[in-house]
């Protein structure tokens, strides 16, 4: 349900998000100014850091890969009328699956390890979503509450495993040993080098393409299959679903499993692609950024891709900024990201009504007065 007035699609999907983003950046600029730095320079540093070099672009897309996976996870659940706050925990446990496959089968050829790692990641994430899903479907326990709790449980379980079970013997930091070299996701700069393109070495890796593939898969699944149809009916009108013979319970569980599986694939990028080991808190909040990404991307894979790249750029540009402007530390960057989330996600429709009023007046001059 949109507001009282309807806007054309190009305003709804184009102008509105840009306006939100603009306001967030303007406020950030004011904060930078208050800190005694020049907002324009800061802006140039951020954009330059994120997109100005092959190095920056690589990092931006590497971060974006994580956000695509978690953003898709949130979106799939959203289409079934569920708000999955647990992508963080699902990504964490999914990563355990990816990591265990890579640790155990690191000597197998990469093309044999990869499908198993994908399956293990998806399975771990889905398994972590199963209990909240079941509780929601059969007992009516709200999935928002249970998935939040499961984030904490995932964190505790992983800390225990890394500190007591999986830790590489003889070291202090709670990390596993490095995966076998065969289980490394091929890096983008290596792949591009093979076809004669030289770029700076970055953590960007093959998982980026897997994330794009997952986006296409979600797009087809939600809008072009009968399962996706059932999913959207349940999300839009559960009573109509029951009338049509679609079981909301089964759809709820199915949607959460897929959601968890998508989140679980984060490990492919973060562990197989970048860290090459399992370590504490590798998901690093990507599950929560995924919520903002899905909201801003209007739960559509294309929108999610664009929003994920934006947040990737904020991450990468932000670290560049804190590096070059000593007065703007890491926390300031988080504040800027927070403002973007606030205006693009939480307050996403803030300007819809005024914009609609303005549009109506523009279309029918004189009629109003």
């Amino acid at each position: 349900m949109s507001g009282p007035a309807c806007l054309p699609r190009w305003i709804e999907l184009g102008v509105l998000p840009l306006l939100n983003l603009g306001v967030a950046l303007a406020l950030s600029g004011a904060i930078v100014l208050a800190l005694g730095e020049n907002p324009w320079t800061a802006c140039k540093l951020m954009v330059g850091g994120a997109l100005g070099s092959s190095d920056g672009v690589g990092y931006t897309l590497y971060y974006a890969t994580n956000f695509i996976f978690t953003g898709l996870a949130v979106a799939v659940a959203y289409h079934a009328g569920l708000f999955n706050i647990g992508a963080e925990g699902q990504a964490y446990i999914g990563g355990l699956g990816v990591g265990l496959v890579c640790l155990g089968l690191g000597h197998w050829p990469f093309w044999a390890v990869l499908p198993l790692a994908v399956l293990a990641g998806a399975f771990g994430g889905a398994a972590w979503a199963l209990i909240p899903a079941w509780l929601q479907a059969r007992r009516g326990s709200h999935v928002v509450i249970t998935t939040i709790m499961f984030n904490f449980i995932a964190s505790a379980v992983m800390t225990y495993l890394l500190v007591n079970v999986l830790i590489k013997p003889g070291q202090q930091s709670p990390e596993t040993r490095e995966f076998g070299a065969n289980a490394f996701m091929p890096a983008a700069h290596e792949l591009l080098a093979k076809i004669g393109i030289t770029v700076a070495p970055t953590p960007l890796n093959l998982a980026f393409l897997l994330a794009l593939g997952a986006s296409a898969l979600v797009w087809v699944l939600v809008w072009y299959t009968r399962w996706g149809y059932a999913l959207r009916v349940v999300g839009q009108n559960p009573a109509a679903a029951v009338y049509a013979g679609i079981s909301p319970e089964r759809v709820t569980i199915g949607a959460m499993l897929l959601s968890g599986a998508l989140a679980g694939c984060l490990g492919l990028n973060e562990l197989m692609g970048a860290q090459h080991r399992i370590l504490i808190d590798f998901a690093g909040g990507a599950g929560f950024v995924g919520i903002a990404v899905a909201l801003m991307g209007r739960n559509h894979p294309l929108g999610i891709f664009l929003a994920a790249v934006l947040f990737g750029a904020l991450y990468q540009g932000g670290s560049q900024l804190s590096f070059d402007m000593p007065r703007i530390n890491r926390d300031m960057v988080v504040v800027i990201q927070g403002l973007v989330i606030l205006f693009c996600g939480a307050l996403g429709n803030l300007f819809q009504a005024p914009l609609a009023a303005w549009w109506t007046r523009l279309r029918r001059p004189g009629e109003e007065a």
Binding site: T225, Y229, R232, Q236, A239, A244, G245
Partner: protein, 525 residues
């Protein structure tokens, strides 16, 4: 903040005559396209119990919510004891001496009765002062009206009947002089209802004015002095209760519109298609809504289920369609037993049972989907609409376009959002979808509710054509004329029971009205 008492009314007819406790003049209210109240004028005399009856959606609740300040009327004025008052919010209504007991209680379950009563009028910074004063006053009220309620028990632990008394106490404690009760017996057992009526008698004796909103005629006859009937937002009749009968009230509630005579030949009933035996259905709150219904439906006939809304017809339909599980009984569809097998709506559809639900937008459609996506709801797993894993979008679109052409759905644009169609066109699409599945049995609920006259005729002709093709049609409608015009055989439901069965030839509105009011028909079920 007291509502400003404006000028005393000039129109008070005779000097010295007591003005009505509550007077409404020309109250008008629209919600978007829905005209919920049409220039309603009503006067309620002091010290009386005034009934307000009407079917669901007739505008009773809207009217009372305007009096209580939940909604603001678009036009019209409210006078209390002859003074015009502006009621913008419930606070103003309370200050003017109006109290309301809602159908769904507004109580804090884990607060005690005492705490609930003083909620919002604690009086002073320290809670204990207020509590002490309230206790004394409530005990006084309890003596005056015989309203015994344990003051220190958490409300959640009280039976529903007592919770309702707490609501009444709350209103009285706020010095309410005019008490509005919205469907007060919906949640009560018959015994609790009788106790409530006795209480209403005592309130009246003490000079309070009571407005009883209900669609149950027994209650009206039992306690009210006068009764007003609402239909489609307008106040259509008012009687002194002793001058009217349940039959007359039922007739006025259901109303007489243009005669909907449908051209049709005599029915040629064939084999029984749907056989229902001793069906019992409970709703979610555990109230028995269908009490042992038995009937059969044959191919080539339309059987109408008549009744005032809320007498179990909806639950009967839901149970037949597989949307809710009956508690006991049997449903046989062409030799398949559906209840014990717990067949889903989807499985029933495969067996040839189609369903046009009573509430299109709530059950039958997804408002935000396109017309073509709605045209496959419930049939989305048919091979024709799928190609392996993928949906066959072309087939879905052409299928919808064909249905739109055949059923004259306007505008004929399969990609348009369902919410953008008018009620009649939405209904035509639902009907097209359900009939297109080539059902052997069609369940139809309120097929013409909110549908324009042109579409009504069209829909009726489709139903008759379906009957003539040898299909069985079960028609549930609160429009008496629709039942009389379409049905070959009529079942009457009242209080969850099938109280009578008549062939169309013997059915007359009067007779049906009486049966709908719960007076058993000699036709026998």
């Amino acid at each position: 903040m007291n509502p400003v008492p404006a000028e005393p009314t000039g129109s008070s007819p005779v000097k010295g005559l007591v003005p009505p406790a509550l007077e409404l003049r020309g109250i008008d209210k629209r919600f978007g396209a829905v005209h919920a109240n049409r220039a309603v004028s009503l006067a309620v005399a002091r010290g009386t119990v005034h009934g307000l009856v009407g079917e669901n959606g007739a505008g009773k609740s809207t009217l009372m919510n305007i009096v209580y300040g939940f909604h603001r009327a678009d036009a019209g004025e409210i006078l209390i004891h002859g003074r015009r008052v502006d009621i913008y919010r419930p606070h103003d209504a309370i200050a003017a001496g109006v109290g309301m007991v809602h159908q769904h209680f507004m109580l804090v379950e884990n607060f005690t009765v005492l705490e609930n009563v003083i909620l919002g009028v604690e009086g002073g910074r320290r809670l204990t002062d207020g509590l002490t004063r309230a206790r004394a006053e409530l005990e006084e009220l309890a003596r005056t009206y015989g309203l015994d309620v344990p003051l220190d028990t958490p409300v959640g632990q009280l039976p529903v009947g007592l919770q309702q008394r707490v609501e009444i106490l709350k209103a009285l404690y706020r010095r309410a002089d005019i008490l509005i009760l919205d469907e007060p017996t919906a949640v009560l057992t018959p015994q609790e209802a009788d106790q409530l009526f006795a209480l209403l008698d005592r309130l009246r004796a003490q000079g309070k004015t009571v407005i009883l909103v209900t669609h149950k005629l027994r209650e009206i006859m039992a306690v009210t002095d006068r009764v007003a009937v609402m239909r489609q937002g307008a106040l259509v009749a008012e009687f002194a209760t002793r001058d009217t009968t349940p039959g007359e009230l039922a007739e006025r509630m259901v109303g007489r519109t243009v005669s909907w005579q449908v051209e049709k030949s005599a029915a040629r009933p064939g084999e029984p298609r749907l056989v229902v035996k001793d069906l019992v259905v409970r709703d979610r709150r555990g109230v028995v809504r269908v009490k042992g219904a038995s009937f059969e439906l044959r191919g080539g006939e339309i059987v109408g289920v008549a009744g005032v809304a809320g007498n179990g017809q909806s639950e009967l339909l839901d149970a037949l369609a597989g949307i809710c599980r009956p508690e006991s009984g049997e449903i046989w569809l062409d030799g398949h037993e559906l209840v014990r097998a717990a067949l889903s709506p989807r499985a029933r559809r495969r067996l040839g049972l189609a369903h046009v639900p009573e509430d299109r937008l709530h059950q039958g459609l997804v408002a935000e989907f396109s017309a073509q996506d709605n045209a496959i709801l419930g049939q989305h797993d048919r091979p024709a609409y799928n190609r392996g894993w993928l949906q066959n979008r072309t087939a879905i679109q052409t299928g919808c376009a064909q249905k739109m052409a055949a059923y004259d759905v306007r505008p004929p644009n399969p990609a348009l959002r369902m919410a953008a169609f008018s009620g009649g066109n939405q209904q035509k699409l639902v009907l097209a979808r359900e009939i297109d599945g080539d059902p052997r049995v069609l369940l139809v609920g309120q097929p013409t509710r909110g549908v324009d006259i042109g579409a009504v005729e069209f829909i009726h002709r489709q139903l008759v054509a379906l009957r003539d093709a040898g299909k069985a049609v079960l028609l549930v409608s609160v429009e008496l004329d629709e039942i009389l015009g379409l049905a070959d055989r009529i079942l009457v439901m009242a209080g969850g029971e099938i109280v009578g069965e008549l062939p169309q030839s013997e059915a007359a509105e009067k007779k049906l009205g009486l049966m709908m009011a719960g007076v058993r028909g000699e036709g026998g079920a």
